[in-house]
Point group: C2
Chain length 190, copies 2
DNA sequence: CTAAAAACTTGAACTACTTCAAGAAATACA
DNA sequence: TGTATTTCTTGAAGTAGTTCAAGTTTTTAG
């Protein structure tokens, strides 16, 4: 039933059979339809989402009214607004399904109780967060050092399948250039 | 002796007296002189640094040969390359003391053993990493949505003291514009 | 299957920055 | 304290991108 998340957790830590049972009993999968939101700007984020299947994104609406994607999440990724989650502050972000997706949504109160019952899960979430932060640092490096065309080519080389999977304008904003410029890069008109 | 780190840890979790003793016995403060490096590009990073006093930064050298600061760390912050740390891969970053700094350097092997002996520390490092990731997301948001001048003013409002504390060219690169443009912003010549 | 919505393309005009080069000012430390 | 080094400033020229607007193609969903 929850093989995806249990397998992911067990890549990083060992779980006892009793712990697996406990987890199973706390988790449930829900489907988020394409374009539906699980978080809107201004709300307090008190849920973490594990993506079992599909694709989600975190985005903002910039002062010109254009959406800009900050983060994509696919199978086996967690997505949430950690700052809003920890500080109980209003979120600056939207989190939306890019494709109709199956996610495991865990409320903060539920997760905190699970973490008390299965303390070894702390290590799992520590490693997940540390790796995510490391990836964010690399992302900033690429944004700082590469031209728009270099960022596109680099991304395409690293994630060739993913480029087909999301609308170009979302990927353009994730790579920090305009949808129009993406068109020109792809057409070789730069 | 290690009040700074013990106080910081105890903001997030409870420690037993015996655990405090154990930690005390494992930690030692070392001084990093201004401009000295604790990590160079190409090395594998297997140490985490807790800044007791001073200021460190993580930076890269871009293709034009200019340094670009990705991250500053001051008192009560951790600094490391988490990706290199977890994956045993060569680092893309330099980590350097901006001011002569007192740090607690914890080797991965030592930390792993401490985490086994004091499992509740997992929670501490989880929260630290989750907050750091949240802050990185906000940083990307600011880079995406604000002009150079807006980023400078925003940073100056949030961290008025820090602006005085580091060379302007380092702050300029952290905010992703050139040192020359920083000069013009400050002179009101934009 | 078809209408409506979403996504993509193109060119022209524009602009927020960068780069370069050289001098001035501030700071570190022998 | 003095000198070397580091940091900051300024203007001129250049450019990697944006914005706008309008048309075209593709995809979605009833």
């Amino acid at each position: 039933m929850h093989d995806a998340i249990l397998n992911h957790i067990q890549k990083f830590i060992h779980l006892e059979p009793s712990e697996i049972d406990l987890l199973e009993s706390c988790l449930s999968i829900s489907q988020i339809k394409r374009k539906d939101h699980v978080l809107q700007e201004g709300q307090v984020c008190n849920t973490m989402y594990f993506i079992v299947k599909g694709c989600m994104r975190q985005y903002i609406i910039n002062p010109r009214g254009t959406e800009q994607t900050l983060q994509f999440g696919v199978e086996n990724w967690w997505i949430t607004d950690y700052l809003s989650y920890h500080n109980h502050t209003q979120s600056h972000f939207y989190i939306q399904a890019v494709e109709t997706s199956d996610v495991i949504a865990i409320e903060k109160s539920v997760l905190e109780s699970i973490l008390i019952q299965i303390p070894s899960l702390e290590k799992y979430f520590r490693i997940v967060a540390q790796k995510a932060f490391g990836a964010a640092q690399m992302r900033i490096k690429f944004l700082f050092t590469m031209s728009a065309e270099e960022r596109y080519n680099h991304f395409k080389n690293q994630q060739p399948d993913f480029v087909q999977r999301v609308p170009q304008y979302m990927l353009a904003s994730y790579l920090d250039f305009s949808a129009e410029f993406m068109s020109k890069i792809r057409a070789g008109k730069v």
